[in-house]
């Protein structure tokens, strides 16, 4: 084993239709770590997550679990254990809840899929009740729960979450973050969290990055970020 982190981005530039959206991002995530990315709208947070999944054209180096994944097709990156919950839930709305969970494990060849589905129904009993309904008919909170369970069905080593709290009632957000904390602690899944709710995100994260206009301007442990005046003013609002 080398001391290499689980995920390492070095000098990553990302492009949309030839326009550069990330200007050389350096970012690392250790195994089992929770990292938060803060930043204003349009700073490149979503682009960073999309770059890791191979959904955006990039240059520079992206390594996952000791292997170069820059330029690899998304399907091969996902198969290595990178699951993403995109902004706006990311469930397949035409499919039933159960089919969504099955689809989450579509790349797995082992026999424990049914067992895992039962586990996630235990965590989110409301999903079990609605297992035959289409995902599109669920409430926003239920859809986000389904999106997280669906992503976990991959048994990922790295979970990417893009604004999971968006549009959810505060009490549901708290529940969601409880589950994320448990996923991280009990299963050792590393998490990269892009989140507007910076206070909550910094509570569960060990480290954080601040992204501004496509560049990382600050990188520090979570408690240091919470103390930082600029961060407090811009993202914590006090």
């Amino acid at each position: 084993m080398t001391a290499e982190p689980l995920l390492r981005m070095r000098g990553v530039r990302a492009f949309y239709d030839g326009v550069e959206a990330l200007h050389g991002v350096d970012l690392t995530v250790d195994a089992g770590e929770v990292v938060v990315i803060l930043g204003a709208n349009g700073a490149g947070k979503t682009t960073t997550l999309r770059s890791i999944c191979g959904l955006t054209r990039t240059t520079g180096e992206i390594r996952f679990a000791g292997q170069d994944i820059s330029g690899a097709p998304t399907s091969s990156i996902v198969r290595r254990g990178v699951a993403m919950v995109p902004q706006g839930r990311g469930t397949l709305t035409d499919l039933s809840v159960e089919d969504n969970l099955l689809a989450g494990a579509i790349t797995r060849r082992d026999k424990d899929v049914a067992e895992d589905i039962a586990t996630w129904y235990d965590v989110f009993p409301r999903l079990a009740l609605r297992r035959h309904q289409s995902a599109g008919s669920l409430s926003g909170g239920e859809q986000q729960m389904l999106a997280v369970a669906r992503a976990m069905m991959l048994r990922p080593r790295l979970l990417l979450l893009d604004e999971p709290s968006l549009g959810l009632a505060p009490v549901i957000v708290r529940d969601l973050f409880d589950v994320l904390t448990r996923v991280n602690r009990e299963r050792g899944v590393a998490i990269v969290l892009v989140e507007q709710n910076a206070a909550l995100a910094l509570d569960i994260a060990q480290r954080g990055y601040v992204l501004e206009a496509g560049t990382i301007v600050l990188s520090a442990p979570a408690d240091r970020l919470r103390e930082d005046d600029a961060v407090r003013l811009a993202y914590l609002g006090y």
Partner: protein
Amino acid sequence: MGTVLSETARDDQAGLDVIAIRLRQGRLRAVLIVLALLAAFSAWALIDGGLQLYLQRFFDGVTNGLLYGLGALSLVIVFKATGIINFAQGPMAMLGCYLALTVLDLGPVPVVAAIVVAMVLSGLGGAVLERVLIRPFDQNNHMAIIMVTLALFLGFNALAALIWGFHPKSFPSPFPQGAADAIVIAGARLSYQAIGTAVLVVATVVVLEAVLSRTRLGLAFRCVASDVERSRLLGIDIGRTVQFSWALAAAVGTLGACLIAPSTYVDPGFMNKILVYAFAAATLGGLDSIRGALVGGLLTGLSVSLVTGYLPGVGSELGLVVGFAVIIAVLQFKPAGLFGNRAMERV
């Protein structure tokens, strides 16, 4: 654990799927309207021409309709996976039919075996076609891909003419087709050919539904049909899944052509007319619904058979006009079709 999401929903909330209920009601209403129209026309037809004639038209309509449904099915499969309409589907099925004929020419093979061989070959052909001529294009640029399928439409017609000539050939039926091979109900003939065709079409739909709902590849197909980018994040290889849909559509199309051919004849353009009916059926049923394709086919077949059979001045040559009328009426009143969720945006 928290409070809200871990809390068990009350029993009366379970299964309360408002969207699904509303969708079902909308569908039911639309189907009832169409059935009422058909019933009204049928009542008039019965009074006008008597039971025997009506039953004969009805049997013809159902048999043809099921075949249109099969054609519609091959359009729906590709549309679901890609969002495009494959205009080359008719000529592709025609090529498949010629393949079956060629196999029959090679030696004494049962017709069914020749059809199966042709289906397998066209499936492979569909897969190659997707890889070579469809995938290189930007999959979001639907117009470009539709242009490719239009080019293929012309190209395949010309290719078939080049290889097999314009001379119409007859195609043997896999079922007994003699004058006596029929059930007679109230004087109207229901041929074994028609019954066999109906059984095969329904069996195809049942098998297809089973493949799509029970296999890993079927799940991948449904995911891609629902949302391409989210499917990519599940680790699904989009290209392979789309390729599977092209292969499946090609095989289903070939089966349809081989079942239609015995009652027509085979020449390079023989599927083009059927393609129009298949469009009508797919539009009516909903371009993204497999069951809808079958129902749409049945309704189109019945409409064409009854309208051309009863309305004075509308001869069988004007059947295509009925097909177009169905398409226009659906786009006007229910763009998503009877069972569809996605409306056709622009073609």
